[in-house]
Amino acid sequence: MANKKNKTNLERRDLLKGLAGVPVAGFFLLNLWQKIRRDKIKKSNLLSDLVQEKKAPSVVKSVSNSRQLNIGIIGYGGRGGHLVRGAGFATTAWTDKASENARKNKLDKQFETFMTQEDLNCSLVGVSDLFDVRADQGIDASKNETRPGGKPAVTAKKYPRYQDMLANDEIDAVIIATPDHWHAKIVIDAAKAGKHVYVEKGLTRTFDEAVDIYDVVKETGITFQLGHQNRQVEANEKAKQIYRQGLLGPVNLVEIATNRNSPWGAWVWNIHPKGNAKTIDWETFQEPSPNKIPFGEEALKRFFRWRCWFDYGTGLSGDLLSHDFDAINQIMDIGIPKYASSTGGVYFYKDGRDVPDTWNATFEYPDHKDGGLTLLYSATLSSANPRGNRIMGHDATMQMGGQSGGGSIHGFAVTADEYSTQYKERLNNGMINPSYPIMTYSPGSKDIDGVTSATSKYFANKGLLYTYRDGKRVDPTHLHVKDWLDSIRNGTQPRCNVDVAYHEAVACAMATESYLTGRRVEYDAKNRKLI
């Protein structure tokens, strides 16, 4: 009897010792359950609908192959080359270098991204550039077989005069990537010739030219796209949802910034060794510019670094402010400001340029739906401190770009304000901590890759180099060109149509005008005039 009892005790002790981990696991599960529950409440309280909707609205699919389109490029410089790559044509020099880079550095996905781009079923049939070397590069790109979609059907024809290209009835559409002072004239000529137009930003050099472009696009009914590829960036579409749902509360101040600190970033670009009076058509180049100079060393400098002079562009205004302005217009639909004022100067790059390298502009929207809004743009070309862009709401602030480190590249973070009215209760009960973001968005976090140079990192932070569709990395420039070609085929409006292009152009022109005249500039919407 005692033996049996002893045996039972032993068995029970065995069991207890064998299963000693069970209470530990139970305690663990209890804590885990509490943690999961608390996290769930936190999320559902605030952003469940946004967190659940992981995919960005995708651009129209499956129409790219419906009708073959012939396109021409006017201005095959650095940007023109990128746009044509977006359409599926890269020079052999580019594909060779990109594939070599990919071999050397496994994290360099530029080549893969290009080769896996959708074939847009278009042919590059015409190239026009005032610099022979660049025109030849364009021809080379048109016949390079290393491309999505395989061997091209035709080789492009070189047009020394863009007017001859526009006279070719086989061309459906043109991409214009010349310096800004030529935009208006070429867009108007192209539209009148019935060609659809993709034109680079900044839209125009002057306010009047913007009005002319707007009118001619409306009159001719061509499909018009302005080159703000940010319109395709997933993060901006997410940001738009958040703003529209009122999660930031009333917004009265938006800060946007440019922070660059390299000669490249300040447009001090190489003067091509083959650039000379024979290879460059300088007289045509300077035809629409207000001041003219004879061909020589100064002209060469101006040809390759045209962004540094008001004769050909508007410097920071059209080149960089335009991007950030358009991104905010995309997210918040702010439209044209009532007033603009700006100040700045040439404080760092004393290289003969006349556009400022340090420049601040304010735009006032007294009639904005949130009671009134100030958009503040601050730019420097002598500091790369990543300030990023901020939409500062009464209830929360959205910080976009400018955040260094993995995971936040061209994403954003939304942080509640400690004095928020909307979140007051949740702030009080500890559900929201104003020290930490209530939401962060970092697309492609499962597929991080190396973005190396300071300038490309700057662009990546701004979301201008890459965006993500269903977790796959794509070049937004490609999506933007695709959006335009799809719209031509469908007869629909592309994302950066002439209406929003006009907003950007007028805002930038107002700020430029203010800098040049030293006074506050007002937009008279009724008469379409700057006062």
Binding site: K17, G18, A20, G21, K106, G406, S445
Partner: protein, 164 residues
Amino acid sequence: MNTLNPSIKSNQYQFYGLVTLRFLIGWHFLYEGIAKLLNPYWSSAAYLLDSKWIFSGIAKSIVSNPTLLTISDYLNMWGLTLVGISLVFGLFSRYGALVGMGLIMMYYLFAPPLVGLEYGKPNEGSYIVVNKNLIEACALWVLYVFPTSQYIGIDRFMNNETKN
């Protein structure tokens, strides 16, 4: 070697000290694994991209290859979880300790706090050569050479000799 020195077994303080260590490390592994399993956005890519020293080349190869990265993600998520379960329940705990030690040594070697190596992610403490990963790996080695699951844990049911 696969059984505990009887002198330690008979010393309750020493013995339960080892058991407690096993529970704590098991708990830590279990939550590290489950937290990753529950987070659909978690990836080992960020850690690997910040890798320095001799394994940084391998780390880059893993990140640049989606298949390898997926394998690495699953190995981490499930490896940590299973080692956690093994240590908490005392199920194949010696192997669990060994696998856990391997995992933690990988974390250490991919990003050791050696003089001259700087990392993007700030540390929560101050480390030079020795960090918590190395200490936890060492603690797992202790658990491997002083196994306790034959006495306290499911392994007890599989080993009749240790019953007492």
